[in-house]
């Protein structure tokens, strides 16, 4: 009883110490008024100037009046949704428009609860959190890559046009896509998930003991083992499933673009097509 009380108290003290702002000394702290106010006012002024000049120089676009019988060719969303529009080319609307955005937002919200690494609060620290920085940067870069593809590389009929190609010249395409069989599709999906989930756990046990202790393979195995053990089964599974979903998007894109695969898995009876 006494020990738990004591440990509770030390824990509380540690938590307080972590949260508390050190006593204000003039070396480390400065007054909000006026010093932080300068920052705020400068941000406001610069934003006003940029926005004002931008609005003076470039008139905002206004297309012809709405006509439900005619869609402009191509019809592009504003830049921040073009990535989503590009995703819709490869996935059914319920995946690209509902499930993936939901997973992105849900995954973003889950970041603080998945990432148990306490290093780097309040600093730009790459060394202690390489994996987190890589995954986040990869996701962000991929998102903007989709936007760039949709915005600069898509022309009439949403076909691939390089930026230097003329949209007036009509590109003919006679592509026919096909879907995989139910068996093949299910096997591929199950295989993809299983490989992604299990292989990183298995490698240290299978290969780890058989290589020289100092080799880079051994180091890699140790890193993988540490990666798993730090997280535990639940968080590891959630994290890897989110990561596999993210990496699965370019996989499907490549299958569609180079192998004309319409659906990996097709169950029309319940509108479930992946």
């Amino acid at each position: 009883m006494a020990t738990t009380e004591k440990s509770g108290k030390t824990e509380q003290a540690a938590r307080r110490a972590a949260r508390s702002v050190p006593t204000a000394s003039s070396e480390r702290f400065e007054l909000t008024w006026p010093y932080f106010m300068y920052t705020i006012v400068i941000c406001f002024l610069l934003t006003t100037i940029v926005l004002w000049v931008w609005s003076m120089v470039a008139p905002a676009p206004l297309e012809p009046i709405a006509d439900p019988n005619r869609t402009p060719n191509p019809s592009k969303a504003p830049w921040y949704f073009v990535g989503l529009q590009e995703l819709l080319v490869y996935f059914d609307p319920w995946i690209a428009g509902v499930a993936l955005p939901g997973l992105i937002l849900g995954g973003l919200m889950a970041i603080p609860y998945i990432d148990k690494n306490t290093h780097g609060i309040g600093e730009y620290n790459y060394k202690d959190r390489k994996f987190a920085v890589w995954v986040f940067s990869l996701g962000t870069v991929f998102w903007f890559l989709l936007i760039i593809i949709g915005y600069f590389f898509r022309g009439p009929s949403w076909q691939w046009y390089w930026p230097w190609e003329n949209w007036e010249i009509h590109k003919e395409s006679h592509v026919v896509t096909h879907s995989w069989s139910l068996l093949g599709g299910s096997l591929f999906l199950i295989g993809y998930t299983a490989v992604g989930l299990i292989i990183p756990v298995l490698i240290p046990y299978l290969i780890g003991p058989r290589v020289k202790p100092a080799s880079w393979i051994k180091k890699f195995c140790d890193a993988l083992q540490e990666f798993y053990e730090k997280r535990g089964a639940t968080i590891y599974t959630i994290e890897m499933l989110l990561l596999l979903t993210m990496l699965g998007i370019p996989v499907k894109m490549i299958l569609r673009l180079y192998f004309n695969v319409k659906y990996i898995l097709e169950i029309p009876a319940i509108n479930l097509n992946i």
Binding site: A18, T32, T47, V50, P61, D67, P68
Partner: protein
Amino acid sequence: MANLSLKNVPQAIVESQIWKSIFRHGYTMNRRNRLLAITNNVFYHILPTKISKYGVRMRFHWGAGIITFYLFLILTFTGVLLMFYYVPTVPRAYYDMKDLQHVVPFGNILRNMHRYGAHAMVFMVMVHMARTFYTSSYKPPREFNWVVGVILLNFTFLLSFSGYLLPWDQLAIWAVTVGTNMARATPLIGHEGPFANLIGMKVNNDIRFALLGGTTVGSATLLRFYVLHCIGFPIILTIFIVVHFWRVRRDGFSGDVPVRE
């Protein structure tokens, strides 16, 4: 009355009873008055009176959150002004936009600022999120504020999306047609989504029908999106901004405690 000269006017103003009743702290800029300037002001008291030199540098915080909030203020201001000339009906919406462009005094720059401000706000929210990630500011005790931030990102997108229908141009109708047809494909609650056929979803009872107020994008949709854009989403966004700021203050700036000096 003897020493009434232009030089003494500012002094006289700040020492008058009216001025002092408004600004409780003194005018001279000593340490006490600088602290009071923050704590006595309803708008500033969300800020701490002292702030760490480490965390306050632009290269730490990039000003992204400040700019995002400021853009929200600009958008509210320009948006309210635009409401004076805009009528959300099918016959008038597009021609009101034309009036704003060509007839209304300063209408065009207001519209441009509202539109570009929205683009900039979406971008700055993303920048702010990236900055927060790279400085690990989402880690305990600030987990929940990150969640609130993601909700704010979501509502920024919803505001932009509901905003595009209002000009009633070709981009408007097709963006919203596509967007609401995605809602049609939501599992269970959209009539073309997975499993929806099992619970009897049809074109006139699913989530898309409620969004559009009909089966196609039309006058009912324009009015619904107008109300959501001008009232619904901004109020929710404001509530979450308040929570967001409050949590920043309560949990402390992540840059307050320099890890390595």
